[in-house]
């Protein structure tokens, strides 16, 4: 899930529950492409690894030839271009991933882009990719507000994930980027705090909507 606030962008992913013997730290669905660009993907991890590698090289190649960091739109266009190339050549198959790319350009405006296997890309205020993306996107459409502040944006991202992630805070990973273009990953306790907040709100909603039992 990706959500854009007034001066912050949030990426949230559902972590697949860790198998007992697996080292969790090596399974990472949120990748840094450059200091100021972050990518989350849904789909075949191996394809993502190859694509992210190409994108990282392109970010540095751009710095070398243009003496400037990539803009979020540029790197999205590049990734979408690579994905499209593999739909129009012989002997290769398309990349099996959709990506959400977020970050800030030098103009300090938050940006969120999505690409898909066909090579189409577009900018979004909030979007979801993956198995239950339709449900989550509908939820986002209902609950998105313009110009949300930091706390509200984080809460919306976590709420939308909780719709489809039953098992709670343990299986959610959140990455945030503010105007300073520094990535920040939320720790488990912070996520749990927000989840508790959300659950308390849900309880209150349920209480209100319960019909009063006095009259029969």
């Amino acid at each position: 899930v990706g959500v854009r606030g007034s001066d912050i962008v949030v990426l949230g992913v559902e972590k697949r529950s860790a198998l007992k013997l697996q080292d969790e730290r090596t399974v990472n669905k949120i990748c840094m492409l450059d200091e100021h660009v972050c990518l989350a993907f849904a789909g075949l991890s191996a394809d993502a690894r190859v694509l992210v590698n190409k994108a990282r090289i392109e970010c540095q190649s751009h710095r070398l030839t243009v003496e400037d960091a990539v803009s979020i739109e540029y790197i999205t266009r590049y990734i979408a271009g690579v994905q499209q190339k593999y739909t129009q050549s012989g002997g290769v198959r398309p990349f099996g991933i959709s990506t959400l790319i977020m970050g800030f350009d030098s103009d300090k405006v938050p940006k969120l882009y999505q690409t898909d296997p066909s090579g189409v890309y577009s900018a979004w205020k909030a979007n979801a990719i993956g198995r239950s993306s339709k449900t989550v996107r509908e939820f986002l459409e209902k609950n998105y507000k313009e110009d949300m502040d930091r706390a509200e944006t984080i809460k919306l991202a976590i709420r939308s994930l909780l719709e489809v992630v039953q098992t709670g805070a343990k299986n959610i990973e959140i990455a945030i980027m503010g105007k300073d273009s520094v990535i920040q990953r939320l720790g488990l306790t912070e996520i749990e705090t927000v989840v508790a907040e959300i659950e308390a709100e849900n309880e209150k909603e349920k209480e209100k909507s319960k019909p009063s039992t006095s009259q029969q």
Partner: protein, 278 residues
């Protein structure tokens, strides 16, 4: 060098899609590396073009090809932007081919390139640079920075290093980081700077330019300084002369100031009283 020759010698065979890794190099690029790839040329079908050229132009060879270039160009940054001043003589040995050459190439309305060295080299590559800059603008919906433009040019000519390109050019313009001035030449040098003078008459121009320079010059004074520096170079350097073309680069783009014949300038300066140097 061998890889370079083989790349151009077998252009058609490179369009194979068997190796997925090569997909990046084949299509007429939109990524940083291939969109800046060189236009393909016929290079002499010898194993080593660099040695071939050196053998024919080296001082010790009997009937060597002499590549001549004479000119004076200068550019400097000051509070009002950048002043660019050039002469207009083209010489082939002791023969003056033309007194009315345009040595400032208008790459686009906010980027200028000066020409020193081989006229054909400068004109061709700076026009190619203009094409690349326009493509960049269309793809990225914003103007290219002067740093990137000068880097494109220097990377393009570096691939032909040692093969006889002769180009000493200044790329200047005003982008979102302010006024910028770069010196790029066919050896692959690329330097950012505040003041440059290029060509056979550059030493004469530097003398006058460095003496009279102040960052806080007014625009008319800066224009006059540029003009005077070129005049003195044309006076002493045999390979510079003709007339002086002056350009002023501002935030809104470049502006052509005027063309002045050095002959009439000579009599004008003669009549003026000379002030103290310091």
């Amino acid at each position: 060098m061998d890889t370079l020759v083989s790349k151009y010698a077998n252009a058609s065979s490179s369009a194979s899609f068997d190796n997925a890794d090569n997909l990046g190099e084949n299509l007429s690029g939109w990524d940083a590396a291939s969109q800046f790839a060189l236009p393909a040329f016929d290079i002499p079908m010898v194993t080593n073009p660099v040695d071939f050229l050196r053998a024919h132009t080296d001082a010790s060879a009997e009937n060597r090809i002499r590549i001549q270039h004479g000119t004076t160009t200068l550019a400097f940054k000051f509070q009002g932007g950048i002043i660019v001043a050039v002469d207009s003589r083209a010489s082939g040995g002791s023969y003056i081919a033309s007194q009315t050459v345009k040595k400032v190439i208008e790459i686009n309305p906010y980027l200028l390139g000066t020409m020193a060295g081989g006229a054909a080299d400068c004109q061709y590559w700076e026009r190619e640079l203009g094409r690349r800059c326009r493509l960049y603008e269309l793809r990225n919906k914003e103007r290219i920075s002067v740093a990137a433009a000068s880097k494109i040019l220097s990377n393009m000519v570096y691939d032909y290093k040692g093969m006889g390109l002769s180009m000493g050019t200044m790329i200047t313009g005003w982008d979102k980081t302010g006024p910028q001035l770069f010196y790029v030449d066919s050896d692959g040098t690329r330097m950012r700077g505040e003041r440059f003078s290029v060509g056979s008459g550059s030493t004469f121009a530097y003398g006058v330019l460095d003496t009279g320079y102040d960052f806080n010059l007014s625009i008319p004074d800066a224009i006059e300084l540029g003009r005077r520096a070129i005049y003195h170079a044309t006076h002493r350097d045999a390979y510079s002369g003709g007339s002086i073309n002056v350009f002023h680069v501002k935030e809104t783009g470049w502006e052509f100031i005027g063309n002045t014949d050095v002959g009439s300038l000579h009599w004008e300066y003669q009549d003026q009283p000379k002030g103290p140097i310091v």
